[in-house]
Amino acid sequence: MFELRSWQAKAGFIALLLLIAFFLFFPVYWALSSAFKGNGELYQLEPTMFPSDFYLGHFLTAISEGNLLLQLKNSLLTSTSSALLNAALASLAGYSFAKFEYPAKKPLMLLILSAQMFPFGVLLISIYPMLQAVNLLDTKLGLTISYIVFALPVSTYMMYSYFKQLPNELIEAAKVDGASNIKIFYRIVMPISFPAFITVTLYAFMWSWNDLLYSMTLITSEENRTVGPGLLLRYINENNSDWGGAMAASFLAAAPVVFVFALLQKQFIGGVTSGAVK
């Protein structure tokens, strides 16, 4: 790490950070403040920085009109199940790659990682007919499975890296103690690897929650629609003039991710940095 010695250098660095923070957070702030502005204040010629009074109408409209709650429920269901399924599969695959010896281990790992090299749009071309063939188009299950496709390679690699630095002696001690491979995995390895498990779960959850392309393509019915396409179809079109509603709905849609992240961020950071220091 570099060290800033003079106060001028420190001040300059802080100013630079503030500038970057401004570019990152001003749009978020502007969206939030717009969500609390009444239509009169929102569309006046000279925009105001702060809402003059905290108008909650946009939030109430976003919830009461349209299918936002249903879409949130669908998103929560598909994202949570795909995240947990992805983390479970990545843990098993990563553990196998890290701690077992078998033929073609490296090519197999490369094969899994190679899925990450294709643009998601390209993968969609093959996923679509596969889901169609098993009647899973326009179903939450089909969408859940498709989400796993793009989160699994990186998640497997993340779990592999974590397991790789787990001391073999722990596993050997459990073996000598008489535990089977399955028992070693869920009684010893997984409890120790909880931060890594949380990290890949969050990673997959955020991927799924923020997805637009797959959910737009694979889901066509209103009852299965998730929140991303729901917002897009309702608010982003040539006839829309409800920017306050769009901002309020967006914040309601982002709330679960922020909440989950805030709840698990300690484990998330721990998981990301766990391999850095022995």
Partner: protein, 372 residues
Amino acid sequence: MADVKLEKVVKRYGKVETIHGVDLDIKHGEFVVFVGPSGCGKSTLLRMIAGLEEVTEGEVYIGNNQVTNWQPSKREIAMVFQSYALYPHMTVLENMSFGLEVTGQPKDLIEQRVSEASRILKLGDLLDRKPKELSGGQRQRVAIGRTIVRQPEIFLFDEPLSNLDAELRVQMRIEISKLHEQLGNTMIYVTHDQVEAMTMADKIVVLRDGNIEQVGTPLELYHQPVNKFVAGFIGSPKMNFLPVTVLSANSEQVNVLLHDGQKLSLSCDGRTVNEGDKLSLGIRPEHFFSGSEADISLTVDVDVVEQLGGTTYVYSDIDGQPVTIEADSDLELVKGEPMTFSFHLSRCHLFTADDRRLEVALSTPVKEEACA
């Protein structure tokens, strides 16, 4: 009965052979220490007995069973690892009971065994703590406790004290020896520390480059090392080796010439050496005397003096060979000044150019006049 027997055991990693056909017999109840420098194969050998390392060739027997391909859990063994390998998310109690729990033992038996082990190892107050809340010595005791509760036939220790500080190491060494006396089980212990080996073992196995160099009691190895490697490895500080040249040799006596022209006559079987052969004369630092009262006297310039309180080590060199002398602690020594010391020929060993030791006869050696 938990005898352990290794028959022509070989270990290969790909094309690299690290253990070269080792044969070894360990009797029930023996405390056997595998000792040798890093990379000599002592841990690999232990892990093959444990079943954690595949045996490439040869056979491993425990009791009457050929266990070469058996899983570790089927071998009636328990192992203490160098890093202790305690399960970090479990309490001391859970760590100790895990082995019994996963093998489906009844709860009251687990409680009884854990309570007995914690009494022996004085762990009673620590049962609810996690490993991170324990000191190094306490962790070590938990690791041993985890093995005791399983009541195995054989205890395996893989350098269990190497992470502890010097004082704790001595303390744990004594505790493990007491435990062996108390339990009477077979114990196999790996260390690179020859002091641990000497103080704990009934039998020491000295390894070098995947071969057994010598097996014997600590004193056998100390007094009758089979070669220069064992002689140098056993004993601390290590044995000194002075270059000598053979003047004449027969089945009862070898006459050699020291660097300074002194002629020594040692009673040993010299049939395999010839006049003019270069040999090494081995003398342990603790077998030197300050002054010239013993059989042979030498004078050296003092290079370094280490005063340990109870004893003093003097470092110098003779004819290019480093020499360590253990001297009395009250001796006044100055760096760069000459120092005269002496030794008895009965304490010397002769090693051939291929490191083999010539057997020294017990008859009184004769000091001869200098040749010059």
